[in-house]
Subunit: 339 residues, 2 copies
Amino acid sequence: MCARILSAGTALPGEPIGTADLAECFGMNALWQQWVDSFIGTRSRYLAVDLRTGRQNYTLADLGELAATEALGGARLSAEDVDAIVMATATPDELMPATVNVIADRLGIDGIPTFQLQSGCSGAVQAFDVASALLGGDRYRTVLVIGGDVIARHYDVTADLNKVQPSELVNFVLFGDGAGAAVLSSEPGGGPEVRAVRTELTGLGREPGQVLRWFGLVDRAEASAPAREDYKAIEEHVPRMAKEMVDELLEDLGWARDEVDYLLPPQLSVVMTQKIVELLDCPAAREVSVVADIGNNGNPLLFFQLKSLLDEMTGNAKAIAVAIESSKWIKSGLALESA
Amino acid sequence: MCARILSAGTALPGEPIGTADLAECFGMNALWQQWVDSFIGTRSRYLAVDLRTGRQNYTLADLGELAATEALGGARLSAEDVDAIVMATATPDELMPATVNVIADRLGIDGIPTFQLQSGCSGAVQAFDVASALLGGDRYRTVLVIGGDVIARHYDVTADLNKVQPSELVNFVLFGDGAGAAVLSSEPGGGPEVRAVRTELTGLGREPGQVLRWFGLVDRAEASAPAREDYKAIEEHVPRMAKEMVDELLEDLGWARDEVDYLLPPQLSVVMTQKIVELLDCPAAREVSVVADIGNNGNPLLFFQLKSLLDEMTGNAKAIAVAIESSKWIKSGLALESA
């Protein structure tokens, strides 16, 4: 590994949407709000859709541009300094062109390799993995990493939440939209070093815990739901996989469990994150979580955690981030160390 | 660079569909067939949709699995030998899980990093770029690269071709479905060496020449077409960009123009490819083209060309492959050398 994180930037669409706002939009009662509070715990989320009109008011490119601009500014770099871009998203604005190229265009970046990974919760770590590999050679010094998701195209503000299945109901409160970015450098200097990146498919013979569809011209009239989750499987597997990933990283690096100063755990929901943190058992680690305020916005989550981490990580300190993708089950993790 | 190509595999859905078959399906006359012959030149293509029923009969995962199985067999490797997978597609089966993970599952591959790049015509070269970066470190020895596209979900067999715009009409005859795969190794041994990979965004301030949409739950009733091409811009820019990429690769490697033994040109259509080959002006190079028989199937094209190349490339020989993505304009190229 030879990559350091110089900066992180984030972007959210519009104003925070509290659970009471959602209740008002969908005509749900106080009991439902209590259910959200106790079973999910997420207080607010940000959506790229206007709840009153149903119109999408931010694209992924809009949010990605904002986050990338902040990250470049934080690293005091400009468009010409970027040698490659690696972006991760589950929800590109179009199938073609890749959204990363629309963002590059808006930033004034050209003539360099750009990559867009199709991925969910583990996408940000996958993007760090590819960026680290690029920085390991001698062709690149500065790589811009972006993660973003916008579920607006599947978010139906006219849905009758009293009629949808509980497993589908959860989607309206659990998820959010946003984007994040970070600047990675192979040059010596400040910023925590990426000591290890691991992404591992763990899906053999296992049904996907999450499926997100796109509709084509021919099949778009089909009645099937665009998203399907198996929350029982997610509750069963995600904590265990998170534990395995922390153990693997600690073993890789020869770090003791109580040497971890900061823990960036998976951000499925407040309630799930609490359970996972207990299981991970890093007694000296300060938890860096963001899900209560921004919801589970997929690929951006890690960047929000990183931005918070970079603000407070000083002196010699060790941090571990873990993300688990339930779609076809990917374990992913990142170990950082500041000097 | 330290990657060698051990093998290539390919897969096509069903039987070849001749231009006469399309004419029969869509009720077009002999004059239309002559127009296809003279302006496009593609004789046949393969589609993952049944022309009579409109049903999709192959998924991207189906075709990718077949191509990857052939590539692994050609390299005499099994699932356990694969250290990472890099796939490229513009048309994933779902937004989540990434199709690469479904293919991995079917091949019995698990516990390794998998990456799926969202990209069009330059996707295969982008996948080679990421694979080469991975093989440049010490974590990976064998990387499986896959490229595939299935446009079935946007292919409307009930369309009235007498009423669609000429620019849209072209899409029904130009494109095809398929998948390809290759095994790359960092170990010394046989197979041509990847001497250079270049992928460069060239989109600054330029409108996309090709847009491919996906529909969501909310916007799926919109009347807009899923695909939009600017063929004037494509005809203007693609040949020039292809020439620039060949020149860049030759300069990078210090190769003379007449040292190129094999040329794998962009495969937009037979007519476009002929024009580009003339412009590229590699007098001693044997052209390796596949578009006349399989149509422009996007990400798989390079693998079909490579499979043909590997069959005949012996002794010391140099090959250059070029692909241009018109979506947001990406120049990409690959230089290979056998010992």
